[in-house]
């Protein structure tokens, strides 16, 4: 799945997908849930909580 396709499925831009991938933006719980659902996975399988601030 491309960044563009994922963006279309969850309703965000490709730039937002890039920012989430490169850990420059922390998505909301709702968006994180949508992304996990797009991959048919649980949120904790896609996102790992790290106790550090955004870049």
């Amino acid at each position: 799945m491309t960044q563009e396709q994922l963006g279309e499925i969850v309703g965000v831009s490709r730039q937002s997908v890039i920012a989430i991938e490169t850990m420059k933006y922390n998505p909301s719980l709702e968006l994180a849930y949508k992304i996990a659902k797009a991959f048919n996975m649980q949120i904790e399988e896609v996102f790992v909580f790290e106790d550090k601030e955004e870049k």
Binding site: E8, G11, Q15, T22, K24
Partner: protein, 161 residues
């Protein structure tokens, strides 16, 4: 002329805002990250607006009264200008695609846009206040912008090489 400036500016501003949002909506760009960037840049622009208010107050105390309308014009330019600039900077920092080879060109264009915006802002202030010395203030931010651009360019060249 004054009416043209005020209402023409308002009309162009609203049209730019409307068509910008319409185009962004087509590309799914009106998402939560955009809302976050917009709120953050607006918050930052308020710090600069507060600083400008203090500068204008200091000028008034020192006997260099600019007048109400030019002061409001300067505040509007500073607020909207810094809002736009910080939004562009934030966007370029957050949406930096590591695989994109055209990144250097985009950064160069953004740097030029920032430099030109700074010059326009200070030229407008100079025009409004009929004091060319405001143009001298633009030298430092423009030089800083050039230095940052050169540093980024060198970093990109190192990565490519």
């Amino acid at each position: 002329m004054v009416y043209l400036g005020i209402y023409g500016g308002l009309l162009f501003g609203i049209a730019g805002w409307y068509f910008g949002r319409r185009n962004a909506a087509k590309k799914n760009e009106l998402d939560e990250m955009r809302a976050y960037m917009s709120a953050k840049s607006r918050s930052l622009s308020w710090y600069f607006t507060i600083a400008t208010i203090f500068v204008l107050m200091s000028l008034e105390i020192l006997g260099h009264s600019i007048g109400t309308i030019p002061s409001l014009g300067i505040l509007l330019f500073v607020h909207l200008g810094i809002w736009g600039l910080t939004f562009i900077i934030l966007q370029s920092r957050m949406t930096n695609d590591p695989d994109d080879t055209s990144k250097g060109k985009i950064q160069l264009l953004q740097g030029i846009a920032i430099g030109v915006s700074i010059l326009i802002i200070f030229a407008t202030i100079s025009f409004l206040t009929v004091d060319w010395r405001f143009m001298l203030v633009a030298i430092l931010p423009v030089l800083l912008n050039i230095l940052i651009m050169r540093k980024k360019q060198a970093r990109n060249d190192n990565k490519a090489g």
